[in-house]
Structure formats: C-alpha cells, structure tokens
Amino acid sequence: MSREHLETNIIRILRILGIIFFIIIVAFPFYWMIVSSFKSLEELLMRPANLWLDIRKINFNAYYEVLFEHGFSRYIANSTYVSIITVALSVTLATVGGYAVTRLRFRGQAFMSYSILIIYMFPAIVLVIPLYVVFSHMALRDSIHVLILVYLAQTLPVALYMLRSYFQTLPVEIEYAGLIDGCSRMGVIWRIIIPLSAPALASVALYTFMIAWNEFLFAFMFLDTPEKFTLSRGVVQLAGSVHLSKQLVMAASVMVTVPILVLFLFFERYLVRGLTSGAMKG
C-alpha cells in the first residue's frame, strides 16, 4: 500500500470515529429522553439501566398526564404565543432597521450600524436583577408581554446584524431599478428586498423563535402565576415538584425540543437557497 493511500485511509477512519463520537455525545441524551418518556413509571423504577424500548409497551400516559394534569397544554399555548409574537416583531423591526442602516444615509448611520451589537456586551444575568426590580416596581413583572419585550431586546441586535449583513450583499442596482420602475422606498423593501431576502428572513425567524422558545432565566425570574408559565419554566416546575416521575419530565422535555427540531428541518431548505443568482451578469 502506498504511503499516500495509507494516509487517506487513516484520515478516513479518524473522520468516521470523530463523527461517531459526536453523534453519541449529541444523540444519546436525546434518545434517552425520548425512550424514557414512553415508559411507564414501574418500568423505569424496576429496570433503570435498560437502554431499550419495548415497542409493545409504548406508553403515552406520560404525555397525557403532562398535558392535561400538569397544565402543559397551557404552557405550550403560552410559549407559542410568546415565540410567535417575538418572531413577528423581531423580523419586522430588523427588516426595516437593517435596511435603514444599510442603504439610507442619515446622521449617525455608521454609529448606529456598528453599535447594534453593543447590547451583547451585557450578559443576561447582569440585566435580570435590575429588570426584575424595575418591572416589579412598575407592577409589570408577572406578565408574558414583558417577557416578549425582553426577548425582543435580546434577539433584535443579532437579527439586525444578520439582516444588515445580508442586505449588504444585495446589489443596489436592483433597488435602483425598482425606484425607477415606480416603487417608493417601502415598495422596494416590500416587493424586492423581502422576496430576495427569504433565506435570511427564515434564519432570523428561526433564531428568534429558538431563543424565545427555549429561554429560561427571564421566564423563571419574572413569572409567578402558573397560568402564565412558558414551557421551559413549566418543565422546571415539574421537575421540582414531582420527584419520582421521571417519565413526566422527559415527556415535557420532548415537547420543548421537538417543535424546534421540526422547525429547523423545515426551514433548512430555505436557509441554503440563495435567491439572487441571475440578477446580475452571469
């Protein structure tokens, strides 16, 4: 075997080993979570080390209980509401804001453009106590709308930054053509920029949704009333209250994780597709 041949083979084997290693690290907990959620309590208590799931014994009781006895149908509705409103606001504001700092000339444009990420220099843990105090004094704390506000503040900088970077890659001549063809600025954004930015908008929406859906710290600090809990807050509540029923916590965790997974698989097609090819010289 030649030396080069040997080297390629070694690299190939190492690569496969690396992939297997990461799959185990990432996928095993996920697998364990799903498997456990389908088992009954006795099964879990009797044979805690059993990695396999007996298909004949699949048990949906945990989901039923979590949804209807532990209030998770409500939490899902809350999380969905919070996430969707956050996504809608964040994408809308980031589109007009990102366009403004990319294309329009105004006083302080460069500063605006570069200061977008400054907010990220403050970690959430630093902000949560002052915000807790402020919102408590204003009697706004225990509300999912305040949560939306906080999530918006948290996601908007990155959303703006992502869209700005994308808008900068769009050729300005297309917008010029639109302006000459009879569009106003808003018309250009609506009819030309937004359709062309579908991949970027999809990534921003997905990113924002993930943050809003998964966020725990602020939800934990701000929400007191169980009817207002979001999913992540509900899972912690459940884990803290029902000591033995591991399958319930696992079922709840599945409900938190799976929507994001599905969304990601669905949007993934849009993320890769570049729409601008063909506009310019080829």
């Binding site: 053509a177 000459i180 063809d181 063909g278 506009a279």
Partner: protein, 354 residues
C-alpha cells in the same frame, strides 16, 4: 420623448469632486454618449439625472421643466444597468411588466406592451423564464426591454454592453442603433469604449475627472479634439503626441521635436513661437521614397490587425505609429520617408487646441 438640459451640475463625495459644473444639452430624440475613463463621473451623472442620488448644485431639466424635486419614479425615465439588475424572483414577463404594473396601467395594455417589446427584441420565447435561466445576451435584452416597455421620456443606459463578449457586443450595438431610429427616443448612453461612443452617438460628451472636456458629434470630436486628453483618448491606435518648440524657419512655422523637425506649412502661419504639443493621427501619415519627404523614421515593430498594419517606428528620439496597407513590404529595420499633411496636424498649447 423629451429634451434634457443639465445646468452646472456639481457633486462631491467627501473631498472628491465627482462632478464640477457640468452643462449638457440633449435634444429631443438625440442619442447622446457620455464617454470617459472609469472614475470620470459619468455614471454619477447618470444617477443624478435618474434622481437616484441628489446633486449638490445645479439643475436637471426635462423638456425645460426642473425635475430636481421629483422622485425617480416620477421623472418618467427608464434605465438600463451595466449589471442588468433584473428582478431575480420574477419571470421575464413580470420583469418587463413591473414598471407598468406599479403605475397602475390596465391589464390589457400591459399585455400588449409586453408582447410588443418582446417581439421587438426577439425574446417572445423567454417570457416564462427566470433571469437565472437566461444567457448574458438574453439578460441584456430583457434589461433593454424593461426600459423600452414603458416608453419613457428619456432612456438612460449605463454601459449596457460591457458584460457581453466582443462579437455579441458588435451585433447588439448595431441593433441598438436601429432601435433608436425606430423608436426615436432620447437616449443618454454611458461608456468608456470609444468605438461604442463613435458608432452610436449623435453627440459625444467626453469627460474626465468630473469635468466635460468636449461636446460634439463624433466626427468633430475625432477631427478637432479640443485638448490633448480628448486627442489621446479617442482614436485607435492612439494619436502620436509630441512636446517641443514652435520656431520659424524662412518665415514658415516649424515644429522642433526631440530629434526631428516638422514643417507646419502656410496654413499655420499665424502661430506664435514657443512651447507647443503636436498630435498626428496614425492614418494621417503617408510613406514613400520621394526626396521631398523630409522626415525619416526607422521601423521597429509591425502589428497586423487584418484590414491593415500598424507600423511602430522611431522618429528622432520619439515613437511614431502609423498605418500602412496590409500588403506593405515594410520590415523592421527599414528606414522610411514619412510625410504629414500640415492641415491635419493638431497643435496644442498647454494642453488646449490652438
């Protein structure tokens, strides 16, 4: 269709003077070419006419009416971009009809107009395609069509042919000229290609560094360049330009260059002595063996361009290029007598034509 008047247009980008007091008058139906090297401000000027960027000073008038306060969409102009700038998410027919739809044109009229322009440009088969499924030449046609379909007052074309390969470019150039005859539109055409400018333009505006250097029909620009920049920028091969002294011998003006002397004859009798530059176009130089020809040049190199040959020779201490028939017997190393018709010598003083 409309006439266009630019009055003292000035534009600065930071410290750079992009345009300084540009005055241009374009008549109704005229084909006006803005010609200059890259960075001369011609595209900026086009964007100002379109209203895409505001000028610092000066006025743009369409049909005698100022359009300075009008948005691009209200100026009733159309523009073809160098990059074509087609809408990638729309089909060809949607690209063509976009401007009409934005203006609320009735649907039957839109359909007719799109059909008309598609037939005019021979792109009827492409109407359902997306821009990314088109070749470069087809995209260029669609871009032209998008401008034509609205029948605007004024067409602005920003180097529309520069992304086509050489053969296609020559064809499209001819078509463009025919199309201009057919629709009689007022056109402003930006290019850095002198051949395009000469073949297409009714009027050529030569620009450099944000200033207009000369305006006139192509023949005038070529035959009477108003300064050394215009003289060297226009014409291929480049004009022979020499710096030297104007002196009088036997009452007649002579140009004294580096290592040669040129009799300027009686036509230039009024010229004052002093420092000048002279320009001689390669095709204005004749060769022969006659004793009356007082200039002798040594051939150094010959380039064959098909229809003729360019002879690169040495005249005194200067380089001299001239044209010779393609069957010329000249060889590198030969010494030839050359002569110039004094009437065809361009004389400049401090860069300006005298």
């Amino acid at each position: 269709m409309a006439s266009l008047t630019l009055k003292a247009i000035t534009k600065r980008f930071g410290k750079v003077m992009a345009l300084s007091r540009v005055d241009i008058e374009v008549k109704d139906g005229e084909f006006c070419v803005l010609l200059g090297p890259s960075g001369c401000g011609k595209s900026t000027l086009l964007n100002i006419i379109a209203g895409l960027i505001p000028q610092d000073q000066g006025t743009v008038l369409l049909d005698g009416q100022s359009v300075d306060s009008l948005a691009p969409r209200d100026r009733d102009i159309a523009m073809v971009f160098q990059s074509y700038a087609l809408y990638p998410h729309m089909s060809v027919s949607q690209n063509l009809s976009f401007g009409l739809r934005m203006r609320g044109t009735p649907k039957p009229t839109i359909r007719e107009s799109v059909q008309w322009v598609a037939r005019l440009l021979g792109i009827e088969d492409l109407l359902d395609r997306k821009p990314r499924e088109l070749s470069g030449g087809q995209r260029q046609r669609v871009a032209m069509g998008r401008a034509l379909v609205r029948r605007p007052k004024l067409f602005l074309l920003d180097e529309p042919l520069s992304n086509l390969d050489a053969r296609l470019r020559a064809n499209v150039r001819l078509e463009l000229k025919q199309m201009h005859h057919q629709i009689q539109g007022t056109m402003i055409y930006v290019t850095h290609d002198q051949v395009e400018a000469m073949t297409l333009g009714d009027k050529v505006v030569v620009m450099r560094d944000g200033k207009v250097h000369q305006i006139g029909p192509p023949e005038a620009i070529y035959s009477y360049p108003s300064n050394t920049f215009v003289a060297t920028f226009i014409g291929s091969p480049e004009i022979n330009l020499y710096r030297g002294m104007l002196v009088r011998k036997d009452g007649l003006p002579h140009f004294q260059g580096a290592g040669f002397s040129l009799n300027l004859g009686r036509l230039q009798i009024d010229l004052k002595e002093g420092e000048v530059e002279v320009g001689i176009r390669p095709e204005d130089i004749g060769t022969g063996q006659a004793e009356s020809m007082d200039l002798r040049a040594k051939v150094e190199m010959i380039s064959y361009v098909g229809s003729e040959k360019y002879i690169h020779a040495r005249l005194g201490d200067e380089a001299l290029t001239f044209c010779a028939p393609k069957d010329t017997a000249l060889q590198p190393g030969n010494v030839v007598h050359v002569a110039v018709d004094p009437g065809r010598v361009h004389i400049f003083h401090k860069g300006r034509r005298i």
